[in-house]
Every structure is written in structure tokens, then in C-alpha cells.
Amino acid sequence: MKGPGVVGYLDALYAYPGDEVTVRVSVLDAGGRYRAELVRLLCGETPGLKEEVVPSGISGEHAGELQPVPIGSYAVVEMLPPLGAVELSLLVWPTLPGRGVQALITVGGLRLLIDAAGAAALASGGETISTARPLRSRAWHRIEARYDPATGDAWVRSAPPPGIHDDVAAEASGRFTKPAKPAAPLLFAARRDENGAVVEHFSGKIEAPSLRSGTVAAEWDFARGIGTTAIEDRSPLKLNGRTVNAPKRAVTGSKWDGSVHDWRRDPSHYAAIHFHADDLYDACWKPSLRFRLPAELRSGFYAVRLQASGPPFYVGLIVSPKPGAARAKLAVLASTVTYLAYANYRRRMLPGPFELSMGHLPTADMTDVLLAEHPEYGSSTYDTHRDGFGVGHASTRRPLFNMRPTGRYWNFAMDLCLVDWLEAQGIAYDVISDHEMQARGVDLLAPYRAVMSVSHPEYYSLEMLQAIEAYLGRGGRFMYMGGNGFYWRVSFDPAHPDMIELRRAEDGTRAWAEQPGQYYHSTGEYGGLWRRIGRPPNALMGIGFIAQGFDAGSYYRRTAASRDPRAAFIFSGIEDEIIGDFGSSGGGAAGLEIDCYDAALGSPPHALTVASSENHSQAFLLVNEEILSNTRGVDGTLNSRVKADMVFFETQAGGAVFSTGSIAYVASLAHDDYRNNVSRLTRNVVERFLDPAPFTLPKRQGR
């Protein structure tokens, strides 16, 4: 009973036929051997795994090795002039004092640090001079040190800020018997050991570090370079450096007093960097396999399947047509940004009253357990760092444990239901991705007559939203095949192109809350829910997030509006009043996370709500952004707003939108060998949306 004996990642989440693909693999098994295959994924483990091996250059057995992960962020200045006696100073806001030795500034063999007891200390070789007074967590302290390598004389001091707490300054001095020579490289928030490994990571904020030595008077100003990896020295020597593993910038500093909330207005309030011992941007694994995708490869969901002991480890990949290549009329838009936001989700494996929101026991499989055994693979944006602050970065440069057809019936694994159904129906389609849409904008969507979302397209950048808006503005047809979509803003930081940034600002259904004063991304964009930023999903898709519950699905009941001639094509051949009272996710097509029509949030007045779900359980609760203060009566047995609305509307340019409003919807498509009313209804919509005949807006008075 064990997890996969091998893990890996790719250099990109999508590729084109003919592209060279690089696979980075770490073999956990002692034998160091593994098998690899390229597989096309046609259906997930639930309801039943369907995969086809695609002959490729990686098929077969390979020798591999264990590859370490250099987790933990820090900053480094690689070059320094010759140094003699030095004076160091900085402001520190520790978040885990007393949790191991944490380096603040390392200059060659000299280390200004927080010792294991949580006190400021100066160390040289194996000797340490400590103030012996633990720093207070989440409070600013000035820490200073002096050191003369000629004599070994050393002095260190910590001083709290003025305030009402009982903190007092503390200092210590002494003489090192084996004085180390201060020299490059200089590291902030970590130490590089004699083998080159970076260790003793600091968790917390650092601001305004300085180094003086003879004519050297370096002063690093972290308010400069937000949105980049640069750290700038204001002195004439310009001893600039760079950050590693994406520590959080645009965070409040010692000067922040609540008078500024947008770091661009006064960066001096944001002169700190928040480092974490568990930040990870780049696992930096060596390439293990390189191969070329077949030139005639069909677009679709694929994976590199790695197999050693235990279950296989799937490394998911979207293959889309090359720009300019022949395309199907229909595209499935894989939500790779949402997959990334959920990647390496640890929270459900940690203690807490998780079931109160889920309505059932949390579940995991042995691949998830492997993730729990390896914290160095980083966490998801649903987790918190070890110091309790939310994880706001998610990078593709590490193994991603959720882009697979197995495990939790969610995102990637559930989206394969759509692929399975399209294959069964014989409907030609391409698969494209969020990441490609981020790169290419509406040009990616424009060739398609219709675009389908997958089950849960939750995380969107402004550029992604604009691409869909532009597509609809040109008469495109969009099928929103899920729930809780277009919900959180994410951004792509040019300095970290393989990472998304997320700030869970204001409110929303969220795993953690962004800190006050930090609602603006490092890109300068205001974070949070799109409905709070002025682009509610209702205005785009006709519906928006209203409730969630994870115990059981329910069904839709047709409304009077479903008899409107405008909706006749949707229900062609369907006499049933009840739609989707079956399915492989909780037994109903309306479930998990559901959306509803709301004119106040911008749902188009001419939209038809053709069916609504009902009879949800106590586990389904209104989302808290709908509630101003706590109240009873918010569950699915009592609140009539707890429902998924199925909505259709035409757009001005001859296009249309159809929205299902439920994550579980796609899990009902295959019921009874695809002979069911969800399948029929969906096929009806696909066929009409692929028909070039333009949709026309309904006539109303004055039009």
C-alpha cells in the first residue's frame, strides 16, 4: 500500500503536435528505474478509466534518479566588493520564531540569524552569540550587528518597535575564536551551505537591510522592483540581487499604517518581502526525457504516464492544434489555470472540521498520501504556509498531483467526462487551454464556431476574461458546462511566467483571507472575486456562484421559460420535466458547486432560465458573499436560492450563451450508455451552436 514510486513534471501545460516535450522525473524507488508512455486520456477513473497508449519516443523503461527540490524562498546578491569589518542592520517581522535556526543575512561565513530559541543572534562557523531574548511573532524588530574579522569581536542587538507590549531591547557581544570572513554571496532569508544547498530558510518579512564596511554602504530597498525578481541597492555600488522561489512582494512593511492600500500609490509602505521556507517556484529538476509529439497527434487531453512501484503518476498535458492548423468547429477550453490553483491540495489531509462544509468524510488516494509525505513539492492556493499565511502562488515548475485521470473526481478527472461524451457522440472537437488563451487572447477562440468550458473554470485573469468577451462580441457561442466559474482573479507576473498569483481579498468562499493592505497583486491589479471587481460572471454567462454542497447531487426541473420558442432547440425530443436525476457525481446533474441567475449582478434581462435544480440537502449552503451577516435558513432544504439555473441567451452579434450552472452536470452525460436527457439536451445545444445560422435577439418593445 504505497503511492507512486516516481513523479515528474513538464515544461508546459500545453503543447502542439510536433513540439518537443521535456519531462523532468524524480524516481523515489531505490532501484531508480521507471517506465514512461504517452497516453491519450478519454475518461477518468470515475466512472471508468479509458486511456490509449500513443507510440512515442519515450515508450519503455528508463533509468532515473531521485531529484531534490530546493524549496524555500530567499534573495541573493552574488557579487560583493572585498569586505572588512561589517555592520548589518534590518527590520524583521518573524512569523515562526523558535521553529529552528533561520538565517536573516548570510555574508560568506558570517550569519545574522534567529536562533533555535527565536532570539536574534550572530554566528560564525560553529560559534553563536545570541541576544537570548525571543522575538515576538508578527511584530517588527530592528536587528543590528557588528563584526570585525580581524579580531573576531561581534555584537548583536534586537529592539522592538515602540508600543504597548512588554518587549524590550536585548543585546549580546563576544569574540569568535575562529572568525569567518565576510564575503559574497550575500543571502537574505537563508544560508548556502558548503555543498551549495540553500538551508536555514527564514519565514517572515524582511525590510530595509543594509551592510556597511569601509566605503561600502549598501541599502537594499525592497519597495523597488515589486513585480520583478530584482532587489535594488540604493548605494552607488548598486549591489543588486534577485529573489529565488517567488517570495511574496507588494506586502505591507513597517511603515504601513492603513493609510495606503494600493502599493503603487506609496511603495514606501510596501518595502518588505515576505519569505517562506515553503515557497516554491522552480523545482529545478534536470531534464530526464525529451521526445517529439507525433506531427499528426489529435488535439486532446494527454498525459505522460510514469510507472515504477505503486500506482502510475500521470503528468497531464493539453495538446491543441498549432496556430493556423485545421481545426474542428468546437473547442473544449481546459481550465489549466484552475487546475494549477488546485494543484497539490493538502488541506483535506490536515486536521479540521472539513466535513462540516463537505457533508462527507474527506477522501484521498495513495497519490495524495505521497504528496502529504513530500512537503517539498509545494502546496496549493487552498493551503496555508506553515506560518499560517495563505499560499498565493502556484507554479507549474514542480510535480502537479491533480492533472490526472485518477483520484478526486474534480477538475481534470471530471472534465474527462466531457471528452468521453464527445467521443461517444462522434462530435469533432479540439481541446485548448487557459494558458494558451492567456498567451494568444481571442485569436485562439476566433476560429471556433462554439467553445465549451469544462466543469469548473474558477480562476480567471483579466486577459482571459477579455478573450471570452471579445469572442462573444464577435458572435461566438459559448457553452459554460459547469459551476463556480469566472470567480477569482488571478494574474500572470512577467517575472514568473510559469506561475499564477492570487489574492483572496475582501470576501468570497475561500480557504484563507488575504492580509489587510495586501489586496493588490504584485502586477498592480486589485485582487479578489470578479463580482467585487466589477465583472461578475452573471454578466458574462448569465449566472454566478450561489451555493455549494458535496454530499449528493440533485436534478433540474424545467421552467415555463423552457417552452419559449427561443428554447425549443434545447429541448427538442425531450418530454421530461425532470432533467438529470442521475449521474456519477452524487446521483444528480445539479451538484457540488452551483450557480444561479441574478439580474442585480448583471444576468441579461432577456436570458431564459430554462430549468432550475431543487431539493438540495442540508450540506448545500449559500455562499457567504451572498450573506451580509450570519443567518439561519441558508441550506438547501430551506433556502429557495440554493439552486442551479440552466440559462440561455442570444448576443447582439448573432452568438449565444448556454450555461448549466453545476459542476456535476458533466458527470451525468454518460448515464445509461449516454441515452439520457442530459446527453440529449447537451447534444441539442452543441448542434445548434455549431449551426452557422445566426441567433437573433428576442423582439421587445422599442427594438
Partner: protein, 101 residues
């Protein structure tokens, strides 16, 4: 911490859960489930799939440690695992074994 409202005599509510672990429950059963899921002495259970269609209970651990698995009992459905967890919690909150016909 709210007092336990799990009455060991209400086997009818246990039977209701066994018959339908997911979905709508009676208000009395829902109150028991809320108590069980909030109770600190039996809160941190998890169901782990050890192979397709095979599940074991586990206990979630603090400090980012992996769950501890109870490998001696294997379930072939989520429902069976939920029922086993219900029985453990019943015992923890009432001090009595849960025995249904």
C-alpha cells in the same frame, strides 16, 4: 464546545444514516452529524483509496504529516467507510457500541 446530543437509544437515527449517508437527513440526524463532525475527539477521520474500489479509514495528522491509515479494515464503497466512521464516533460520543440489526 457544545454538549453531545447523541442519544445512544436513538438507533433509528443510526439506521437512517446507514440507509442514506449522503443527501437530505432528518433534522435530528443532521444534528448528530454536525456534533460528530465538530467533536474534537473523533473529528479527523479521512477515507483513503488504496486501490480502485478499496478504501480504508485514516486519521489526519497535525504539522503537515501524512494521515495515519487504519489498514486492518478495507471497505469496498464510500458508504461503507462512512458507516464505519459513524460507528467509531458513536462509540466516542456515547461510550456505547453501535449495534444495529
Amino acid at each position: 464546545m457544545a454538549a453531545s446530543n447523541v442519544d445512544p437509544k436513538r438507533l433509528d437515527l443510526a439506521a437512517e444514516f446507514r440507509a442514506r449517508p449522503f443527501g437530505r437527513h432528518s433534522l435530528e440526524l443532521q444534528a448528530i452529524l454536525d456534533t460528530m463532525r465538530r467533536a474534537e475527539n473523533c473529528q479527523n477521520l479521512i477515507l483513503v483509496s488504496i486501490a480502485p474500489g478499496r478504501w480504508v479509514l485514516g486519521e489526519r495528522q497535525p504539522d503537515f504529516q501524512p494521515p495515519r491509515l487504519f489498514e486492518e479494515e478495507v471497505f469496498t464503497s464510500l458508504e461503507a467507510g462512512e458507516w464505519a466512521a459513524f460507528g467509531r464516533r458513536w462509540r466516542a460520543l456515547t461510550g456505547e457500541e453501535l449495534k444495529l440489526p
